[in-house]
C-alpha cells in the first residue's frame, strides 16, 4: 500500500486525543473508501503539538500535522489524501532542510516566527498567493504552518517537497521566491536557512516511525542485526566497540557503559542478571517513557546485547507503574521476541540463552537508585543499602547484576550498527554521543530533543524549542531535576557535558530540562524540588530523612517572610550534612537545588528576609496568579 498515516500514540498523544483522531480517520477511510494504512506509532517527540499525525501519500511529500483534532483529521482524509491539498494551520515543518530544488515546488509553507509585533503569517500567505497568480503559476498551494521549527527568524517559508527553507523573508523577497525558486528551481541564497538541524536521532531513531507493537516494523529498520553482529564479534568485541563509542550511562551518573559490562563480565557467578532501569521518576522527564512506548525493541535488543556481553541469563525491565502504555508495549515486545526465537534458548543458534520479564515499580522515586531498585524487585521496601557490595558483585537475589538505563540500552544497537567510532564522532571529549532531553516549563515548545553532547543549552532552548513562552526573558534552566541545579542565563552558552554541568553546580541527570522565565521565583522552585525529595526520601538515613525535612521547614519560613540570615547559615550547614552523610544519591543530591539557587540567586532569598511578611504575601499572590508579576530581583552573578 502506498498511502500511510502514522498517528503518535504515546501517552502524550493519547491524552491529547490521538484515539479520537484515529477513529475520525478510520471513519473517513471507510466512508470514502480510501486506500491508506493507518499506523499507531509512538512518540513523534514534539509534545507541544500533540496529537501528531504524519501523512505519506503517493506523489506527495511526507507531511507532519500537529494539534490534530477530529475536524482536522477529517480534513486530512478529505483534502490531503483526497485532493492532495495540505490542511491549514496544522503543518509542522520538517526539521530537515534542503539546499537545492530537486523537484518542482508543489507547496509553500509559511509562518511568522517573530516574537514581537502582530502575526503577519496570513498577510504573507495572501501575498504569495497573489504573486503566484500574478506570475501565472498554478498548482502550488500556499499553507500556513503550525510550527516552523525555526524561531524568531521573522517570516519563515519552506517549499515542498525539496524542504528548502527561507528565513527573515520580507515582502520584497516574495517575488524572487516565486521567480527564482518556484519557476527557476533555484535557491535564493540570501534568505536561505542553511543551519543544519541541531538534532541527531540515534536513540530516537525509530520513534514515531515504526509501529512499536509490530516487531516486523523494527526488523525492517535493521532491528536485531546488531545482536547478530555481536554474536560474531563475541563479548570482547562488544566491549571494545562500546569502549570506542565512549557511551556513558544515561541514567544520571555517567558511568562508562563498557566498563560496567566488563566488570560484571569478570565476576565469576553462574547466574547473572541485567536490569533495565525504567523507573524514570524525575518529575518532568519523559525521555525513557517515550523510547519504551515508541521503540521498545531497541531497548530489548540493547538488553540482549548487554546480557550476551556479560553472560546474563535473565533480564528485568523495572518500569514505573505510572507508565501503563510503556508497560504494555514492553510486554508485547517481549512476547513477540519470544515468538521469533529472539528470546529463549539458543538465540539465533548462537548458544546464548536469555529471557526477559517486566517488574513494576509502585510509586517511589528512590527505586531508581540501584540497590533500592533491586530491593524492590525482591519484594521489599525500596530502601538503598550501602555499597560495597556493588550490584555487579552481589545484586538481585544475591547474584551479579548490571543495571542500565533505558536510553543507554536503546543507544547500544545503534552504536553496534554504526560502529563505536562513528558514534564517538558526536559529542565532546569526555561526553560522547547524543543525549535526549525533555524540555519543559516556560519554554515555547515543550518537547523531546536529541542533540549531540556539546550542544549549548542556549541552542536547545532557543533554536530547537523556540525560546521562552510569550517571549519573556529567560532566568535560568534547571537540569538534572531534583538532584540538579539551576543554570542562570549568563551560563546558557555552556556546551552540555557531564563535566560542564557539574562545574556549574548542576548535573546532567537523566535529561529533564526546565526553563524558567524572569517571573519565576527561585525560592519557590527550590521549595518545589526539595519537597519532592522530602516526599520521596526513603526515610532510612537520618541526614536525608530529617535534614531534608528541616531544610524544607527553613525554606517555608523564609518564603513566609519570617526568615533571618542565620536561617541561611543553617540551611547551608544542613545541606553540607546531607551531601556528606546521606547514604544514597537521593539525599546526597537533594540539597543541590538549594545550594545552586543560593549560589546564583541569593538575592531572592534575601528579598524575602528583608521584605518580611509584606513581601512574602505579595509574592504568594503573584505565584498564585492573583497579581501581575513585577520585575523579580536580578541574579547575583558569580
Amino acid at each position: 500500500m502506498k498511502n500511510w498515516i502514522r498517528v503518535g500514540c504515546d501517552t502524550g498523544g493519547i491524552a491529547a486525543g490521538a484515539d479520537k483522531v484515529i477513529s475520525a480517520l478510520e471513519a473517513e477511510k471507510a466512508s470514502q473508501k480510501l486506500d491508506v494504512k493507518i499506523v499507531r506509532v509512538g512518540s513523534l517527540g514534539l509534545s507541544f503539538a500533540d496529537p501528531l499525525v504524519e501523512v505519506g501519500a503517493e506523489g506527495m511529500p511526507t507531511v507532519l500535522y500537529g494539534n490534530v483534532n477530529e475536524v482536522s483529521a477529517k480534513a486530512i482524509a478529505t483534502d490531503h489524501l483526497g485532493k492532495k491539498k495540505l490542511v491549514e494551520d496544522c503543518v509542522v515543518a520538517s526539521r530537515k532542510r534542503g539546499t537545492a530544488i530537486a523537484q518542482k515546488v508543489a507547496y509553500i509553507l509559511v509562518k511568522d516566527t517573530a516574537s514581537s509585533g502582530g502575526d503577519k503569517t496570513e498577510y504573507i500567505q495572501t501575498s504569495i498567493v497573489d504573486e503566484l497568480k500574478r506570475q501565472g503559476v498554478e498548482g502550488v498551494q500556499v499553507v500556513r504552518m503550525l510550527d516552523a521549527g525555526i524561531y524568531d527568524r521573522g517570516i519563515v517559508v519552506q517549499v515542498l517537497p525539496s524542504e528548502v527553507t527561507y528565513v527573515d523573508v520580507k515582502a520584497s523577497d516574495i517575488a524572487r521566491i516565486v521567480t527564482e525558486t518556484v519557476k527557476g528551481a533555484k535557491v535564493v541564497k540570501e534568505i536561505l536557512f542553511s543551519e543544519a538541524d541541531k538534532q541527531i536521532r540515534v536513540v530516537l531513531r525509530n520513534c514515531g516511525i515504526i509501529d512499536p507493537e509490530n516487531i516486523d516494523d523494527y526488523i525492517a529498520q535493521k532491528g536485531y542485526e546488531a545482536l547478530k553482529k555481536c554474536f560474531a564479534i563475541k563479548p570482547e568485541g562488544v566491549i571494545e566497540e562500546m569502549k570506542t563509542s565512549g557511551l556513558r550511562g544515561r541514567g544520571g551518573a555517567g558511568f562508562p557503559t563498557w566498563l560496567k559490562w566488563k566488570l560484571t563480565r569478570e565476576v565469576q557467578n553462574p547466574e547473572k542478571f541485567v536490569i533495565c532501569n525504567a523507573d524514570e521518576g524525575d518529575p518532568g522527564a519523559f525521555m525513557d517513557r517515550s523510547v519504551l512506548e515508541s521503540d521498545p525493541h531497541s531497548v530489548l535488543e540493547g538488553m540482549l546485547i548487554a546480557a550476551y556481553t556479560m553472560g546474563a541469563s535473565m533480564g528485568y525491565f523495572y518500569i514505573r507503574a505510572e507508565y501503563p502504555c510503556a508497560i504494555a508495549r514492553v510486554e508485547k515486545a517481549i512476547a513477540q521476541a519470544r515468538e521469533r526465537g529472539l528470546l529463549g534458548d539458543n538465540i539465533m543458534g548462537s548458544g546464548f540463552s536469555f529471557n526477559a520479564k517486566v517488574r513494576l515499580g509502585a510509586g517511589a522515586f528512590v527505586c531508581g537508585e540501584e540497590t533500592a531498585l533491586i530491593a524492590s524487585i525482591e519484594g521489599k521496601r525500596g530502601s538503598p543499602t550501602p555499597r560495597p557490595p556493588f550490584p555487579s558483585v552481589k545484586g538481585l537475589f544475591g547474584k551479579s547484576t548490571a543495571i542500565n538505563n533505558v536510553e543507554t540500552l536503546a543507544s547500544v544497537p545503534a552504536i553496534i550498527n554504526m560502529g563505536g567510532a562513528e558514534y564517538s564522532k558526536h559529542g565532546t571529549d569526555k561526553s560522547k554521543g547524543t543525549k535526549v532531553f525533555a524540555v519543559t516549563g516556560k519554554v515555547k515548545n515543550a518537547q523531546l530533543v536529541e542533540v549531540p553532547m556539546g550542544t549549548t543549552l542556549h541552542d536547545v532552548i532557543y533554536k530547537i524549542c523556540g525560546g521562552v513562552q510569550d517571549a519573556k526573558p529567560i532566568k535560568a534552566v534547571q537540569t538534572g531535576g531534583p538532584s540538579g541545579g539551576v543554570i542562570p542565563e549568563q551560563h546558557l552558552d555552556t556546551p552540555i557535558s557531564y563535566e560542564n554541568l557539574q562545574q556549574l553546580g548542576s548535573i546532567m541527570g537523566s535529561g529533564g530540562m526546565l526553563v524558567m522565565d524572569k517571573n519565576d521565583c527561585m525560592v519557590d522552585v527550590t521549595k518545589f524540588y526539595l519537597k519532592f525529595c522530602v516526599d520521596e526520601s526513603c526515610g532510612k538515613c537520618a541526614p536525608c530523612r530529617v535534614g531534608g525535612f528541616q531544610l524544607l521547614q527553613l525554606l517555608e519560613k523564609i518564603s513566609k517572610g519570617r526568615g533571618s540570615l542565620e536561617d541561611i547559615e543553617m540551611i547551608r550547614k544542613i545541606c553540607v550534612a546531607m551531601q556528606k552523610a546521606s547514604l544514597c544519591g537521593l539525599g546526597q543530591t537533594a540539597p543541590n537545588p538549594v545550594l545552586s539557587t543560593l549560589r546564583y540567586f541569593e538575592s531572592e532569598y534575601k528579598a524575602y528576609i528583608d521584605g518580611g511578611a509584606v513581601y512574602a504575601r505579595k509574592m504568594a499572590k503573584i505565584l498564585a496568579g492573583e497579581a501581575p508579576s513585577p520585575a523579580a530581583p536580578a541574579a547575583t552573578n558569580k
Binding site: A16, P283, A624
Partner: protein
Amino acid sequence: MSQSSTITPNEKSDIRKEVAQHVSNWKGEEGNLIMILHAIQNQHGYVPREVAMELSREVGVTLGRIYEVLTFYHYFKLVPPGKHNISVCLGTACYLKGAPALINEVKSQLKVEEGGTTEDHEFHLDVVRCIGCCGMAPAMTVDGRTCGKVKPEDISKIIAETKSA
C-alpha cells in the same frame, strides 16, 4: 472498584480463592510480592487487610513485610478510593504552569485533602508526579481521562461533568 471497606465472613472463602489465583499466576517467581499486590489493588482499588492477611498465609510472607511494602510505596492504598479519582499532576512542568492553583481549587471545591476521599466517597484526590503530558501542562486525570491546559476556572465544570457521567 469496590466501595465496601469491611468484608463479611462469608466473603472469606472468596478471598481465599482470589488470593490463591493471584498467587498461582506468580508461582515460582522470586520476588513476586509487589506484582501480586498490584494485581490485588487492580481488583479492589486498594489492598484490603483481609486480603493481605490471606496473602501472608498463602505465600508465607509475613504480614509485617507486606505492610512494610504497602506503606512504603505511594501507589498502594489501604483504604478504598472514591468513586471518582482525580489526579492532579504536580510534575515540574505542571507545577511551573499553575498546578498548585488547580490543587487548591479542587481541595476547596470538594473539601478534600491531598490523598483523601470526600465524605460521601464520591471523589478521591491524588497528587501525582508527571503523567507524561508535560506538553499540555498543567494536566490532570479524572477517572483516567486526561485534561490538559487546565485553568482553575475549569475545575467546577470538570467536577460537574464527572458527577453526571
